[in-house]
Subunit: 260 residues, 2 copies
C-alpha cells in the first residue's frame, strides 16, 4: 500500500469561518482526523466522511503521549488513507507540530504543512489590539506561559516595553508571570489584556494593567485557554470590532448594511 | 445613507487557498476593495463584483498616504457600500491596520477585523521550520527589519538564542541586522533561513547560518518581500513539505495518493 498523505492542519482559533480554504478541503476529504481536545465540534464536523480520534494529552503524561500520537499518524498513513492531524491555531506555534513532522520524516511518510491562524495573533486582533503600532511597538514576542523555566530566559534581557508580549497558555501562571515582569522593570501601569475564547460566540476581553492581571476573573471560563497581551498597544484598543460581534449585531445579516 | 461596513481583511501570504472562509465571503460580496500593492491577482480576482483600488504606498511618502488611505475608506463607507481593506498577511501585524481602525472609529464608521495568516508564521512553517520546539525554543520574536531604529531596542537586551527571531521586511537590511546580532553575542554559526514568496508557486528557501545571511542571493527575486528566521530551530527543518510542493508533486492530484 502506498502511504497516505498526512496533513498537519491548523484549525485556527475556533471559528469555522477562520479555517483556510485549504484546511476545509483537507478536512472534507480526510479519511481519519486526529485532533486535539480543544478543537470545537463545528470544525470537526467539516470532516464529514472521516473517522475521528481525539489525541488530547493528559497532564503529566505528555512525553509518552507525544510518541503515541506520532505513531498513530504513521500507522494510519501506512493503511493508505488520507490523514489529517488537526491542531488549534497554527501547527508550528507551541503545538509540537515540529516533533510530529520529524517523526513522519524519519518514517518516510509523505506529509504537508497547512498553516492556520494562530490565536497568538488573532486573539489580540479580534480584541481590537494591534500587536504593532508605529511609534509604540515595532515588534512582538510570543511565549508559552505554561512553563516559567522556558519563558524566563527570554524575559531576562528583554528591555521593558520594548516589544508587545503575547503569552499563550498563561492564564494559570499569570500571577508569577506578572511578578517576573515587575521585578524586571516593567511598570505596574503597563496596559494588559486577556482574551478568552477569541472568535467564538462567548469571546471575552478583559483590559486593565499589569497590576490588575493576577486578580482579574473571567467568571465561568477561568480554566479555558486565553491569550494575554502586555504592552502599550493594549491602550490603543478599539472596542467591539471583532467579526464575531459584527455578526451578532446583525450588521451582516440577511439584509446587511451597506448594500444598496 | 447608512455607512457601509468596512472589513479589514488579512489576505494571508499569497496563496488564495490560504484565505479564510470569512475573507473569501467578504471579498465576494465587496463593492470596493482597497488593496496593498503586494496582493496577488488570484486573490483580488475573488472580489469579482468589486471595483478595485490599489493603495500601494510610495517610498518616502508613507505618512501622507496613510492618512489618504484612511480617508478613502471613510469616504467609501459613507456611500453606503461594502468596503474591504485588503492587506497581505494579517492586518494587525506590521501593517498599520491599527491606525486605520483608529481613523474608522474616530469617524464613527462600522468596521470589523478579519484575521489573516501572517507570513511571519506561515513562511517558516512552509519552509519546514517550527518556530518553537520543546527544549530548543519556547518562544519567538517578530520584528520589522525595515527600520533598525525600531528593532535595535528589542535586540539590545534579548539573550542570544533565547528565542527564535522572525524578521519581516528585512531582506534589504540583512547585512546590518546580522552585524547587530553578532555584536550582541549571537554566534555566527546560528542557523538562519530566508523564505521568499512563501505559499506561492515560486516559493524559495535558503538555509545556512548567520555568517552566510548577508551574502546569500535569491537570484531574481532579491527585491521581493522575504521572511528571515534566525535560531537553532532552523536546523530542525524538514524539507519540501510545503503544501505548495505537495501540490506540485501531484501527491494530491486528480488521482491522489491515499484514497482507496
Amino acid at each position: 500500500v502506498t502511504p497516505g498523505l498526512v496533513s498537519l492542519v491548523g484549525a485556527g482559533p475556533g471559528d469555522p469561518d477562520l479555517l483556510t480554504r485549504l484546511a476545509l478541503r483537507r478536512l472534507r476529504r480526510a479519511d481519519i482526523v486526529f485532533h486535539d481536545g480543544l478543537v470545537p465540534e463545528p470544525i470537526l464536523a467539516v470532516a464529514r466522511r472521516a473517522s475521528r480520534q481525539s489525541v488530547a494529552k493528559r497532564a503529566g503524561r505528555a512525553e509518552t503521549s507525544q510518541q503515541a500520537i506520532s505513531d498513530a499518524l504513521i500507522d494510519a498513513s501506512r493503511l493508505g488513507v488520507r490523514v489529517v492531524r488537526l491542531k488549534v491555531g497554527d501547527p508550528y506555534v507551541l503545538g509540537r507540530g515540529g516533533e510530529e513532522a520529524h517523526a513522519l520524516e524519519a518514517a518516510g511518510i509523505p506529509f504537508e504543512i497547512v498553516p492556520g491562524i494562530s490565536a497568538a495573533l488573532a486573539a489580540p486582533a479580534l480584541a481590537g489590539i494591534p500587536l504593532t503600532y508605529r511609534g509604540v511597538a515595532s515588534g512582538f514576542v510570543v511565549l508559552s506561559g505554561h512553563d516559567p523555566h522556558a519563558y524566563v530566559p527570554i524575559l531576562d534581557g528583554l528591555r521593558p516595553l520594548s516589544a508587545t508580549l503575547v503569552v499563550l497558555m498563561g492564564l494559570a501562571t499569570r500571577a508569577s508571570l506578572t511578578a517576573d515582569l515587575l521585578t524586571r522593570g516593567w511598570p505596574d501601569t503597563t496596559p494588559a489584556a486577556v482574551v478568552v475564547d477569541a472568535s467564538r460566540p462567548d469571546e471575552f476581553v478583559w483590559a486593565g494593567t499589569l497590576a490588575g492581571l493576577p486578580g482579574f476573573s473571567t467568571g465561568t471560563s477561568n480554566a479555558l485557554p486565553g491569550v494575554i497581551v502586555i504592552g502599550p498597544v493594549v491602550a490603543l484598543r478599539t472596542k467591539e470590532h471583532s467579526h464575531v460581534r459584527v455578526r451578532q449585531s446583525a450588521l451582516v445579516g440577511s439584509r446587511p448594511v451597506g448594500v444598496r
